[in-house]
């Protein structure tokens, strides 16, 4: 009879290698039970640790945000006081404390640019723009840096990017930026592009505003006097006695050749700047010396014509005096022709026809041009007026 060995603990028959299968299973289950419990506890600790760490990190972040604001305030006051190095240092600290707030990097770029450190400012802005390509503020500042650096292509690129990035709610700011862009384009003599931008502005600026006045001036500078007149009329419609608008409207009318309107505007305005006074005097000369003006008597027409020819002849004689060698055939012929015309119309009984007057004006133009080639263009107002009169009537074509 074989003896079956049994476990002393539980009485179960031992297996062939002398181990109790039930006790082994119990130990194993305890171990499995334990490792699950420990793992569960560790996960619980991890969860609690996560929540605690997140709370601490959040509080820390708030501290950084407050510190950043404090440094930003210091930067603003230092910049206002002109302490630029201190402002730069404070701006850098604000950025270090809170790099996510773009205001601080923009402020840093501004103060670097104010310190003539455009290269560093550009790097700050490019870094900002690489994170947010649609950041209008960064693009605008980069455009200004490019303008200072005379990099026209870059400036155009950044201005367009800035204009495209503004939100619809930022329309007033976008209009200002567009005006700035137009100034740049006109400085670059890019009139066509400038006109295109001005047309856009015409549709967005509020009526009667001073911005319309600036718009009109820019149209004038771009060579579109007609649109300029419209803009000034827009302002005058809302503010009939706006001195600046009246003066500008006079300039626009002058550019269009509407000297009568120009005189009305110049008379109404109270602006006494040198260019306005000069234009007003010139307009007066034009209106009082135009022999082809309507509703003037024959005597007055004759007087104006002979006065114009006389002034041209005086100019020719002055030129010949300064340069006797210029007494060539053309000049001699002009002088002879002028003397003949003067004699013809010197008689009180003479009644020049319109053709005669036009012929006389053409002679004046030829004299003025010949003198300009020989002795330089005259700068006296009467000669400017004579040329403008000829131009107004289409008599300034070269023969």
């Amino acid at each position: 009879m074989t003896t079956v060995s049994r476990c002393e603990v539980c009485g179960t028959a031992l297996n062939q290698d002398g181990r109790c299968p039930q006790c082994a299973l119990r130990r194993e289950s305890q171990f499995v039970h334990r490792e699950l419990v420990v793992l569960g506890v560790l996960i619980g600790i991890a969860v609690v640790a996560f929540l605690a760490t997140r709370a601490v990190a959040t509080a820390n972040r708030r501290m950084h945000v407050q510190d950043a604001q404090a440094w930003f305030n210091r930067q603003q006051s230092a910049a206002r006081a002109g302490r630029l190095d201190e402002a730069i240092d404070a701006a850098r600290r604000a950025v270090a404390e809170d790099p996510n707030d773009r205001r601080y990097r923009l402020a840093l770029a501004d103060v670097l640019a104010a310190s003539a450190r455009d290269g560093e400012a550009e790097r700050v802005l490019l870094s900002l723009r690489s994170e947010a390509p649609d950041n209008a503020d960064a693009s605008l500042r980069l455009a200004r840096i490019a303008v200072r650096r005379s990099d026209g292509d870059a400036a155009r690129r950044y201005y367009r990017a800035a204009l495209a990035a503004f939100e619809p709610s930022d329309m007033p700011i976008r209009d200002q930026v567009r005006l700035e862009f137009v100034h740049f384009l006109l400085d670059q003599s890019d009139r066509n592009r400038a006109l295109a931008e001005l047309v856009v502005l015409s549709g967005t600026l509020p009526d009667g505003s001073d911005a319309r006045l600036e718009l009109g001036r820019l149209y004038l500078r771009a060579g579109d006097a007609a649109r300029a007149t419209e803009e000034f009329a827009n302002v005058l419609h809302a503010h009939p006695n706006h001195a600046e608008a009246l003066a500008a409207a006079g300039q626009a009318a002058f550019a269009e050749g509407d000297y009568a309107s120009a005189q009305r505007y110049f008379t109404a305005t109270t602006v006494t700047s040198p260019d306005v006074i000069e234009l007003r005097n010139l307009v007066t000369l034009i209106l009082t010396n135009d022999p082809l003006a309507r509703r003037i008597g024959t005597r007055e027409r004759t007087r104006r014509l002979t006065a114009g020819i006389n002034a041209a002849v005086v100019l020719l004689n002055e030129c010949l005096t300064r340069q006797p060698t210029r007494n060539d055939t053309l000049v001699g012929a002009l002088a002879a022709e002028a003397r003949a015309v003067e004699r013809r119309w010197a008689s009180a009984a003479s009644r020049p026809t319109l053709d005669d007057v036009e012929e006389g004006m053409e002679l004046i133009v030829r004299i003025e041009r010949t003198v300009a080639e020989a002795c330089g263009a005259p700068v006296t107002p009467i000669h400017q007026a004579l040329l403008l009169i000829a131009k107004q009537h289409g008599l300034d074509d070269k023969r």
């Binding site: 499995v32 490792e35 420990v38 560790l42 760490t53 290269g119 790097r123």
Partner: protein, 433 residues
């Protein structure tokens, strides 16, 4: 009658499944500890220095705090001086991964105090030791086998480093390259899992902000490779200077009487306080100035000054026995020397060159490779920081040269040399570099 538990067999976790689960938990805990450590340093620094400290405060804070930490490091937490990386390596290779519980706690407390009070040291090395210590603690609690406990240590280290730098790949590479010393380690999978878990947790708390905001740099002209090679040579020399000074000054402190052990960190504190009065930029980790150098915001004179002072300050802080690492100072010094060389090259080179910030970036990697002797980690770390391939070629060139020069004239890596000074010899580890 004994109850049978047939269902328990079905539920039993295989050892490797448990290990994987623990890797995730350890990675998460390591990551949280790194975040808490960095946050703690910032809070302490802010509390001690205020927003804009005066010269008096700059001197007194490290001086006074170092007296306290000196006592803690001498009598309460004697195993937590210095970086923590060499101690972690020693625990892994010599002590079966056993790290006493007071080590991560002590490292946390003294690290926060030392770095927060202005010592020129890094937080990544201490994070590695804290993460490794947590892993060791967990392993003992779960009663893992000795082999598994040892293996969990570098996993915890990788988890912590992943969160500290926000560079999960570099953290894995570092654990394999430096701590284990074997790039073919079988722990790759678990290390990756821990690193990923850690960085997920870290980013869910801190967001996905990069450590440095770096412009996109690239090689501007093929001849620039020569300039970057020069940077590698300069970086190698700078690495040698740093390591030599560190080891010699540390040996000098070690020769002082044992009764001065509690005072030595305070001596370092006084010296650091004096330095901070003159050059406060070298206070603590200094990443904001690294960021400036990477973005070309420092002039040549400042770059050279910060390079010199930071090197000296770090050597003093570390050698005097304070708790903190040399990762961050390596990056700082590298950025400054790179930026300085880049500024000079940009001014005088006959061919087009990149911005000085590009050289600062490569300089960081070169010094890291030369000092830490982890070139693979350096490459991956810089790549993860910049997320840009284009700087990798010059980075690898500079890294290789810096590493080669450093190894040629100082065969023993600095971490091993530091251990050797404490009478600890690690087994020779094959490095994949």
């Amino acid at each position: 009658m004994i109850r049978r538990f047939p269902s328990i067999q079905q539920l039993r976790l295989r050892e490797h499944q448990l290990f994987l689960a623990l890797s995730i938990v350890v990675g998460i805990l390591g990551g949280l500890s790194a975040v808490l450590f960095a946050t703690g340093i910032e809070r302490v620094s802010r509390a001690l220095f205020g927003l804009d400290p005066s010269a008096t405060r700059l001197f007194l804070v490290p001086t006074v705090v170092s007296v306290i930490t000196g006592v803690l490091l001498a009598y309460v937490f004697p195993d937590v001086r210095g970086s923590g990386v060499p101690q972690t390596e020693a625990a892994f290779h010599l002590h079966g991964g056993r790290i006493p519980a007071r080590v991560p706690l002590g490292k946390f407390v003294t690290g926060v105090l030392c770095i927060g009070s202005g010592h020129s040291m890094g937080r990544e090395g201490p994070s590695v030791q804290i993460g490794a210590g947590i892993a060791s603690l967990v392993a003992r609690w779960v009663r893992l086998s000795p082999e598994r406990m040892k293996e969990l240590v570098p996993i915890g280290a990788a988890g912590a480093l992943s969160a500290a730098f926000n560079t999960p790949v570099a953290a894995v590479i570092f654990a394999l390259e430096e701590i284990i010393g074997d790039m073919n380690a079988t722990l790759l999978g678990s290390t990756v899992v821990a690193s990923v878990a850690s960085v997920i947790v870290e980013r869910s708390i801190l967001g996905n902000e990069p450590l440095f905001r770096v412009p996109t740099y690239h090689l501007v002209h093929p001849a620039e490779v020569a300039a970057y090679a020069l940077l590698g040579i300069v970086g190698g020399v700078a690495s040698l200077v740093f390591c030599t000074l560190l080891l010699r000054l540390r040996a000098l402190f070690a020769r002082l009487p044992a009764r001065t052990r509690a005072l030595q960190p305070a001596i370092g504190g006084v010296l650091i306080g004096a330095v901070l009065v003159l050059v406060p930029e070298v206070k603590g980790v200094g990443y904001e100035y690294v960021d400036l150098a990477l973005n070309g915001g420092l002039v040549l004179k400042t770059l050279l000054l910060l390079f010199t002072v930071k090197l000296v300050a770090t050597v003093v802080s570390y050698a005097s026995g304070n708790a903190g690492g040399i990762f961050a100072p390596s990056l700082f010094i590298g950025a400054m020397v790179g930026g300085a060389l880049g500024t000079a090259v940009h001014a005088i080179a006959p061919f087009p060159t990149g911005e000085p910030g590009a050289y600062a970036l490569v300089g960081m990697g070169a010094l890291f490779a030369g000092i830490i002797r982890a070139p693979m980690t350096s490459v991956f770390m810089i790549f993860e920081i910049t997320q840009d391939y284009q700087i990798l070629v010059p980075l690898m060139v500079a890294n290789l040269l810096s590493f080669s020069i450093s190894r040629r004239y100082q065969p023993t890596p600095v971490y091993h040399a530091l251990l050797a000074q404490d009478g600890i010899r690690l087994p020779q580890a094959e490095s994949a570099s």
